[in-house]
């Protein structure tokens, strides 16, 4: 690799310069061509059809936070992928879910994971949850020119704050604007419907299992109303991806557990297709 082996094979000066603990800063100084934000796009006319990821939901419970996503990626009105995974562990106590242009989003997540790990290794300490959320802001902002050309990436970041001992959720806009959400949040094309469902059935005192069911209900409603969001696919055994962050760290709920919950939800929907009802008053 050109980056790592100059004629002598010794580490280039940039590698041995003390200072920044950020992998992004290092990449910007040493190999700026690898930074996603530094690419120039040709001037385009009209929409380009690229795979898009869709709905991500997140909600906090006592002692943790859940981040979940559907599995569909769409390209215009074609289903590009049925079993895409859109929720990734960012580090031991946090996860990021992505909506928007899939290719760019996956690359952003890879870089974000590396940014957190790199800081941890260089400093010997982890970033605060706010610090992590801010780094993600910077990365989204770096993608602004592409976002304005239609290649937006809008993630949802959730994690367990080990200092405050609770789960927290951060949502973003395409300019990198960051806002902390209380209770629950959603992003992506089906987010409007998912948020509507959570608004009605979310309670602070739900257990982890109850909240997982609530999240599946929300994704089911999103899939019900939005063609770009995929619902539980029993025939192919493709179920929403649910991750939980608690004091014990990041955990992906096993497919078998999600399948059981999803079946309960579907059984309920056979009785009442619109899902559980909340009181009028």
């Amino acid at each position: 690799m050109e980056a790592n082996s100059r004629s002598t094979g010794r580490l280039p000066a940039a590698f041995l310069t003390p200072g920044s603990s950020s992998f992004l800063d290092f990449l910007g100084a040493h190999s700026p061509e690898l930074l996603p934000g530094n690419r120039t796009l040709p001037a385009l006319k009209g929409a380009v059809e690229l795979p898009h990821g869709t709905t991500i939901v997140s909600a906090v419970f006592d002692g943790g936070v859940i981040l979940a996503g559907d599995r569909r990626a769409t390209m215009g009105n074609v289903i590009a992928q049925r079993d895409m995974e859109k929720v990734f562990p960012a580090d031991e106590y946090s996860a990021v879910g992505i909506a928007g242009t899939a290719g760019l989003a996956v690359e952003m997540v890879r870089l974000f994971q590396l940014e957190l790990e790199h800081y941890e290794k260089i400093e010997g300490a982890t970033l605060s949850l706010e610090g992590k959320a801010n780094r993600l802001s910077t990365m989204i902002r770096g993608n602004l020119s592409m976002a304005l050309q239609g290649l937006a990436v809008v993630p949802l970041f959730a994690g367990y704050d080990t200092d405050r001992e609770k789960g927290r959720i951060f949502s973003y806009d395409v300019t990198g604007g960051r806002s902390e959400e209380t209770g629950f949040a959603a992003t992506g094309s089906g987010s409007v419907y998912a948020r509507g469902t959570l608004k009605k059935i979310y309670r602070k005192d739900l257990t982890e299992r109850q909240l997982s069911t609530a999240v599946i209900q929300a994704l089911y409603d999103a899939a019900d109303e939005d063609s770009a969001t995929g619902g539980p696919d029993i025939a192919r055994r493709v179920y929403p991806l649910i991750t939980v962050m608690t004091e014990d760290g990041f955990r992906r709920v096993p497919d078998s557990e999600v399948a059981a919950l999803a079946r309960e939800v579907i059984d309920g929907r056979l009785e009442r297709p619109d899902g559980p009802q909340a009181q009028v008053l």
């Binding site: 690799m1 980056a3 790592n4 082996s5 002598t8 094979g9 010794r10 580490l11 590698f15 041995l16 003390p18 992998f23 290092f26 990449l27 040493h30 190999s31 690898l34 890879r110 870089l111 590396l114 790990e117 790199h118 290794k121 260089i122 010997g124």
Partner: protein, 248 residues
């Protein structure tokens, strides 16, 4: 106005090597041992913040003795190298061999360039494999050479003596507690042959544990866990290993 004294290249190199070796010999040693489930790093280091042993990548760790600012610089360089390589290719494409090569080139170039002061450091780069026979341990002396090591290795002040002590007693298939006890025993032997007592507070211990479920196999052993491991083994040695002590 006066011509500088002629110094033969052999002499110049010998002087530089002498300089580096003296700097390294001033510090305490670090030992690295293979055990059944991985590789254990033990350093005598009273500081909790300034590490001699650190994580580089998923399966790769780094240990160093000598001048702190110099090996810290090399450590950061190594982390950047590994992360960049893993980002450009894949996480599996980052290897201890590649990293050791880059370190050797760096140390070698610095050692032989007249304008730069030679680094007073000695490094160990180790990678834990899926099985003990896949483990790799490289020792990198100050002059840019690489030594491929097996079993147990020591670097730093008293490394010759500690190294031979370890070579005689290390065997394959040791448990973590056994390997740790041997490491502590070797470190607590002074140059004059007398024994010192090393407590958990004076030790920095870390492992590359192949049984860890996470992709990142590096783990520091701290506080209570370390005390427990040390006590478990000292209890066992007093009852079983007495004859070997009398041999000395």
């Amino acid at each position: 106005m006066s011509t500088p004294f002629y110094v033969s290249p052999q002499q110049a190199m010998a002087d530089r090597a002498e300089y580096a070796r003296k700097g390294i010999a001033r510090g305490r040693s670090v030992v690295v041992l293979q055990y059944t489930d991985g590789i254990v790093f033990v350093a005598e280091n009273p500081s909790r913040a300034l590490h001699k042993v650190s994580e580089i990548y998923d399966r790769i760790a780094f240990a160093a003795v000598g001048k702190y600012n110099e090996f810290e610089n090399l450590r950061i360089g190594g982390v950047r190298y590994a992360d960049l390589r893993g980002y450009t290719y894949d996480r599996d494409d980052v290897t201890a061999r590649g990293l050791a090569n880059v370190y050797a080139q760096t140390l070698g170039t610095i050692f032989s360039s007249v304008g730069e002061k030679p680094y007073e450091v000695e490094l160990i780069v180790a990678e834990v494999g899926a099985a003990p026979e896949d483990d790799q341990i490289y020792r990198l002396p100050h002059d840019g050479s690489i030594v491929d090591e097996h079993g147990a290795v020591a670097v730093g002040g008293n490394s010759d003596q500690i190294g031979s002590y370890l070579d005689q007693r290390h065997r394959d298939g040791m448990t973590l507690a056994e390997a740790l006890a041997l490491a502590v025993e070797s470190l607590s032997r002074d140059t004059n042959g007398s024994d010192r007592q090393l407590t958990a507070e004076q030790l920095e211990v870390a492992v590359l544990d192949r049984t860890r479920p996470q992709a990142r196999k590096f783990k520091r052993i701290l506080g209570r866990q370390l005390t427990r491991l040390l006590e478990a083994e000292s209890a066992a040695t007093t009852t079983t290993d007495d004859p070997s002590d009398e041999e000395e």
